[in-house]
Symmetry: D2
Subunit: 166 residues, 4 copies
């Protein structure tokens, strides 16, 4: 296991309301992200955010939720490290800042703003049935999306093997 600090951070972005298929996709993304030893970063609320966090926790992963409200207790039950911001939807840029790479699922305009901030920050944004925006790399399955995400993180940013974890 690697140090928390050195683990890759993969953001999953998508709507607070989503259909059953998107929720299952999100949960599968969470499981794959945790399985790869990466940390899940998301917006900390319901829908896609909760499903991804639930999936990641079920596979033993660590989850971070960047919340719009000012209370950490607003987080969904599957967030290990809730971060309150009090910024409302203005916090969307912070979700993009705190991931090495983003995977967007479905989603409405909040997701669109996060895609935009991710690209502004020079991060790879991978899409699964989401906005077909220039600059978004479309994936056909959760497996492909997580594979692309892991490969996009440069070795210098990524986890080093062989360290003792905490």
């Amino acid at each position: 296991m690697t140090l928390i600090r050195e683990r890759r951070r993969i953001g999953v972005i998508g709507g607070a309301r989503a259909d059953a298929g998107s929720l299952e996709t999100a949960a599968q993304l969470g499981r794959l992200i945790a399985g790869a030893g990466a940390i899940l970063v998301c917006g900390g609320l319901g829908g896609v955010m909760e499903a991804a966090a639930r999936g990641a926790q079920s596979a033993g992963g660590l989850t971070v939720g960047i919340l719009p409200g000012s209370s950490p207790s607003d987080a969904n039950p599957f967030i290990d490290v809730p971060i309150a911001t009090g910024l409302g939807f203005t916090r969307n840029s912070l979700v993009a800042m705190n991931a090495d790479v983003l995977i967007a699922i479905d989603g409405e305009y909040g997701t669109l703003s996060e895609i935009a901030f991710g690209i502004i920050l020079g991060k790879k944004v991978i899409g699964l049935g989401t906005w077909d925006i220039r600059g978004v790399l479309l994936a056909g399955s959760p497996e492909e999306a997580v594979g692309l995400a892991l490969r996009s993180v440069s070795p210098s940013d990524a986890a080093k093997d062989g360290k003792i974890g905490r």
Copy 2:
């Protein structure tokens, strides 16, 4: 003339770098907005933001610039009321908050984030040669764009005639 408080606020969003055609479009938008008695709101920096503010000032209008940096003096020379935020590009949501309606010209991902926040806030977003996003109302000319913008602002939000201005 109406009270400043009661004047409609029209946001013009677009890139800090833009080609000559987009800059002329922005300047024309600024002139039309000022000519209609509305206040121009923008991001306060260069490119489309500066051209629109220059156009608005040339027609006697009032200009507000919501800046990413922490110093009001970062504003372009055509901003009457510079507002420093220190938020970096996270300030994009504040541009959308402070306009009754948005007109997007050209632009890259910062503009895309502002379009997204405008729609999240329930505001009309009018596009001129910009991102063709679901929810953006495309216009064919600056005149049409400003006409659409003015009509989109509900009477209760808009300027009332006959008041003494300040």
Copy 3:
């Protein structure tokens, strides 16, 4: 009259709830600030903020309110240029950023945070019956406070006379 852009901006900070004496002091500060041709910047809500804006408007001044909420219509009725931020009390730092100098009246912990941010930003903070914090210059009357404020703004920041206003 000078250009809006070149007018000094004086912030008045204090509580949303204040006693009658503090409110009268705030109104007097507003009148003196407007009388000196400076712009009043405040937090845009009630109490000291509203009294100062009312005073400034009554003397023909221009008022800017930096609001915690996401709607410009949250401003008190005496704000000419309401700026919505959606940041909650995190917006306190933006009040400090957008004034050349601050005058604090009475106030609780929100005022204390604004005093702190003003000093961090290297601005003069003048106090009238407020927190007696190292670095705050105490004044004995509104007249003295505004006099100190006007003198603290360096000529390069301040209004130049003889320009035609807008």
Copy 4:
């Protein structure tokens, strides 16, 4: 061990520059916080922030740093979960939001702003050789400060024993 989510979060606030005594106090606070099973939250940079995080990590604790910049890699080497905000010193309010209780050491005006936000949020603020502000509970030693901090967190907010950690 308790779930990360259920562990108490204690903020340590203080200057990026501090004398040797304050740094040793900060490191001792970090060790005591970690020893009590609580998470250390701080501003993520140098000085008191780094010393506290170093102390916490040395005792096997988890550390969260809420950073002013937009890159998680700005964090000091002892931060496990760096959170980038891009807000500059405006992020100070987020440090207060993300702790159940705050301990202030020494510090200048940034620390003062964090004390103010802590009290606004209704949190206990404990001081060790810092600003003597109404509302701050003064402690005489790191042991007393951490003891007060732990007792101030209500049982409903605090860690429950006997759960299996992750």
